[in-house]
């Protein structure tokens, strides 16, 4: 996996909450047995009209968002199925980072991304960033005022910097395990296999309860 430290690019906004994996990549594209070629199909039903041409009303089709690599969206992004195809599609479209708000619901913090989706992002070097709702609102405002504005997401420093005449920066928290993983671009399986002996000795005393 490619290592991630810092990235600068155009910010696109998608003003929808609870964007589910069926929207991110509809079922007909899950039939592929390859790991590539999903970028074209990202948000397919929203992105293209019935005639197969780009739907001009869809946010990401705005000329100002051409080549965007940072996506700002609303809460609970990536809910639904475990399909990693959704993450492949977002990443292969060209996004390097997705920003969504965490929410406060009756005193408990509700994450901005669905669990499995977020996990899958880590495995593919796609950075998910959670900001507060107020901060995400601000990002939406700035992008509306300055379409095509660029930002830097700096994972080392845990900052999102919006490049305008006067720069605006937001700090974000990140799970240290995830940070390390992304920055070093680690291969999980190779890492785990370093503990092969532990797995084997665990297996010898563990009852899997399978009777055949």
């Amino acid at each position: 996996m490619e290592a991630f430290s810092s990235h600068r690019g155009v910010v696109a906004t998608l003003d929808r909450a609870n964007v589910d994996t069926d929207q991110i990549i509809p079922k007909q594209f899950l039939k592929s047995i390859k790991r590539t070629g999903f970028g074209e199909s990202l948000f397919f039903d929203w992105r293209y009209g019935d005639d197969g041409k780009p739907n001009p009303a869809f946010e990401l089709n705005q000329p100002a968002f051409a080549g965007a690599s940072i996506l700002v969206t609303r809460n609970n992004f990536g809910c639904g199925s475990s399909r990693e195809h959704a993450v492949w599609a977002v990443a292969q479209y060209g996004f390097k980072a997705v920003i969504a708000p965490w929410q406060d619901r009756n005193g408990s913090r509700v994450p901005g991304f669905a669990d499995i989706f977020r996990n899958n992002c880590v495995k593919n070097g796609l950075l998910t960033i959670e900001l507060s709702e107020a901060e995400v609102d601000q990002l939406f405002d700035w992008v509306e005022r300055f379409p095509g504005v660029e930002a830097t997401v700096d994972l080392e420093e845990q900052r999102v910097i919006l490049h305008m005449d006067e720069e605006v920066a937001f700090h974000f928290d990140v799970d240290p395990v995830v940070k390390e993983h992304l920055i070093r671009g680690l291969d999980d399986i190779a890492l785990t296999l370093e503990h092969e002996a532990d797995i084997t000795s665990f297996e010898q005393q563990h009852e899997t309860q399978l009777h055949a």
């Binding site: 003003d15 929808r16 909450a17 609870n18 589910d20 069926d22 929207q23 509809p26 079922k27 007909q28 899950l30 039939k31 592929s32 047995i33 390859k34 790991r35 039903d45 809460n75 609970n76 809910c79 639904g80 199925s81 475990s82 399909r83 990693e84 195809h85 993450v87 929410q103 619901r105 408990s108 509700v110 994450p111 669905a114 669990d115 499995i116 996990n119 899958n120 495995k123 593919n124 799970d175 240290p176 395990v177 390390e180 999980d188 399986i189 890492l191 785990t192 296999l193 503990h195 532990d198 797995i199 665990f202 297996e203 563990h206 899997t208 309860q209 399978l210 009777h211 055949a212």
Partner: protein, 470 residues
Amino acid sequence: MVGKTLFEKIWDKHVVKTMPDGTVLLYIDRHLVHEVTSPQAFEGLRMAKRAVRRPDLSFATMDHNVPTTTEDRMTIRDPISAAQVEALRTNCKEFGVNLYDLQSDHQGIVHIIGPEMGITVPGLTMVCGDSHTSTHGAFGTLAFGIGTSEVEHVLATQTLRQSKPKTFRVEFTGKLQKGVYSKDMILKLIGLIGTAGGTGYVIEYAGEAVRALSMEARMTICNMSIEGGARAGMIAPDDTTYEYIAAKDRPFAPKGEAFDRAVEYWRSLPSDPDAEFDRVLTIEADKIAPQVTWGTNPGMVVDVTDRVPDPHSVPGHSVKDVEQALAYMGLSPGTPMTEIPLDTIFIGSCTNARIEDLRTVSGIIKGRKKADSVRVIVVPGSQQVRKQAEAEGIDKVFIDAGAEWRHAGCSMCLGMNPDQLKPGERCASTSNRNFEGRQGKGGRTHLVSPEMAAAALLEGHFVDIRNWAA
């Protein structure tokens, strides 16, 4: 020392090693595999010249792409679907993984065949590249969905690197009213906490109303944990669980003395009385009404006696989100839920296509005809369920009522095979997701219990089944 929860007991028993960063290497007892989320994982193994560490603990079947009509089932016409199914065959053969292929008596939706064959028992860790793996938690097992990279990781190492989730106890007090079922309990919960409310938690369902449920009804609840954002849902095992496991020929379940020993262990699993949860919630089960979704996520749900809501009055959703959902669903605020006309009734999916579900529906519709306005598709969850239903004459009841009686698969739950809604078609579905386009581009889904689907099938619209005579 404070007691442990069911989840903690299972978690602790499966920790191979705690890493310096605090994550753990968790041993995985069962790995279920299907055709959609596995090909890239097998390909990854092949490229790295790695083997499947424990093929004996890995079980595969094809369910998502499979046509469900007798004519099309064995020869999949869509070449891309056919290639995906073929890839699973090749991969299972090459890597030595157990496969329940289309001609097998045990083929079916992966979450239905696991329990059916005794692959699922209490106290395990179970994963599958599928978010509804949470279903298996009904047995008191820790079961959750993973992505394809993690599928590859489990195939190669039989472990996963995990951070410990938080625990959430949901207690359903009292008894359900007549006409209200486990599907309504879980929809009610999702309506209350929202589709992200359980993110980061493992939910344990408890309380009188849960204990009273059959195993199959419990699976329905755990199945939809993910619709509430929780990767896993669990129910402590009890006599209902042990009876289910012992009841039938379940080839992989312990038998005889081994079974007795297993039960002894399983009895130690339920959460200790003084165990602490990170979050708790109590729901009065006796107050729950039959639920019907009106929107484009499972949290957009109301009592069947309610009306389509006003965009300004939906907690947890912005006005814009609700407006978008209503526009997609073709509904106007204020319309009584019971007056929405339906085109299609889908009885199927890993949520509600087990034998009890089919028995319930056929019991209600026996000797009657479907409403003229609706098309009815009944897709048993597995070939075993289909066989059992046919032995009981349930297939006849459906066919006589004017329904289509199909073979096992995911079918119109996600429309990856030819079973899809057309744009604008409105469906009462016993499945789990009402996302835009889920059952077919432009299709409109209302999630309901099998009993509500039975009533809707006869009437052509929803009814308050608590005081309705078929």
